[in-house]
Amino acid sequence: MPPSGNRSGNNRKAQLGLFAGYLAASVGAILGALLLVISLMKPETFSGLRSMASDVTAPIGQTGAATRVGTRNIFEAIAGYYDAGSKNAALEEEIAIARVRLAEAEAAKRENARLKAALGLMQQNPENIAAARLIGSTSASARRFGYISTGREDGVTPGMPVTSPMGLVGRVLESGRHSSRILLLTDSESMVPVRRAGDDLVAFAEGRADGTLRIRLINLGINPVEEGDVFVTSGAGGMFRPGVAVAMATEITEDGAIAQLLSNPAATDVVIVEPIWEEDLLKTMAKPVVNEDDPG
């Protein structure tokens, strides 16, 4: 390829122009470094700017989102043809297990209803805020954010849980006018209090950024988790309502397990934004603790 010849030579004007160019580029780099430091220290600083950008570009994502369902993602679609046989066997086994689980869940549900009736509690199902399409995700960055097609106009505010029929997807991080950015469960900054379905083994589910979750038990000791255990939200912390499916343990580690997501966002089309489960509780927790008995 021939040289482009942008050198200035003896031309004074060209020399100055080139110098000014380098200066501008360096200023740009320094500005970038400063902005980077600011946004690492205070990640919410530029949220307004970001939601504006996602509002503007959301319509592009929305048109594509409708075609995504069923195709999951590029690689899975292709890979599906190769290991169909072994997958089929695995699926059949899984179904057999799932049938048993379903029966167990039914039993638990019935008992739950009976106990609740005995206590005089109402069956409370929170009213959903909005249904939205999952329109995109930050597929090139190490952070795992998603974009959904609903925003402040529908009453979506940061912190609200986002679920799909298969389970928890994430929570709203920033809401624009008609699009929002959500933190997917697999982001390394995402942490959800969970418990094992069936008993009260409590744990935290942390994102590992590679598509799996890390289950960390709160009570250390002998690790009772087994492969195939399903974890659901525990409701601790007040953000997520209890009982939403999160993940299934696939690999046992020293302090818990590595778990696969139950609601794969790649195969999810419509998600539901739910209200924060116990907003009052969250607000109370944010306030500093004051001892009421303290005189003066």
Partner: protein
């Protein structure tokens, strides 16, 4: 009379008679294609792990290596800002890395004015590797050293894709220089 030079009236960029390139295309095509590549997060791919290559950065590299003068030296600031708004990286990371890349390629152009395909691919691969690793480090994600292997598949895809992107850019460059404006 026989024509001596067959490309005297017409060449790959269109008719040479009474036509010239449009300034709008000449300036706009590189900017527009890089910004379009920045919209990749709005693709209907919900990735559980970083799998897609950094399209905007690859386009920037390809444009810069093909035609060093097509983007001004300060282009990293606006292009980087636009990329940061959607990419999920903290704002400033692409501004910084795009700006540094533009300066670095300019200095490289002075050292190696004549380059081959392989040298451009090597340069592109090195720049993409550095970009992905630094981006992951400053992303604000809580990554351990083990999890840095996350970017390996992404890196390989990006490196394999780079010659294709260069090819695409050279086609776009032909579009950029098309003589569409009629001289009065």
């Amino acid at each position: 009379m026989e024509r001596l030079n067959h490309s005297s009236r017409r060449d790959a960029f269109g008719s040479k008679i009474n036509r010239t390139s449009s300034p709008l295309l000449m300036v706009g095509v590189p900017w527009l294609t890089i910004m379009l590549a920045s919209l990749a997060p709005m693709l209907p791919v919900i990735a559980l792990a970083p799998v897609l290559p950094p399209f905007a950065y690859i386009m920037l590299l390809a444009w810069r290596l093909l035609r060093v003068n097509v983007l001004p030296l300060w282009a990293g600031l606006p292009l980087g800002l636009f990329d940061d708004l959607l990419s999920g990286q903290p704002i400033g990371s692409a501004i910084l890395l795009f700006s540094i890349t533009i300066i670095a390629i300019d200095l490289m152009e002075i050292r190696f004015p004549w380059r081959s395909f392989w040298q451009d691919w090597l340069t592109g691969s090195l720049f993409i590797s550095a970009y992905l690793i630094i981006s992951a480090l400053v992303s604000g994600a809580d990554l351990s050293l083990v999890q840095l292997r996350l970017i390996v598949p992404q890196l390989l895809i990006a490196i394999v894709l780079f010659p294709l992107a260069s090819r695409l850019v050279s086609v776009l460059d032909r579009l950029r220089l098309l003589r569409v404006r009629r001289l009065a």
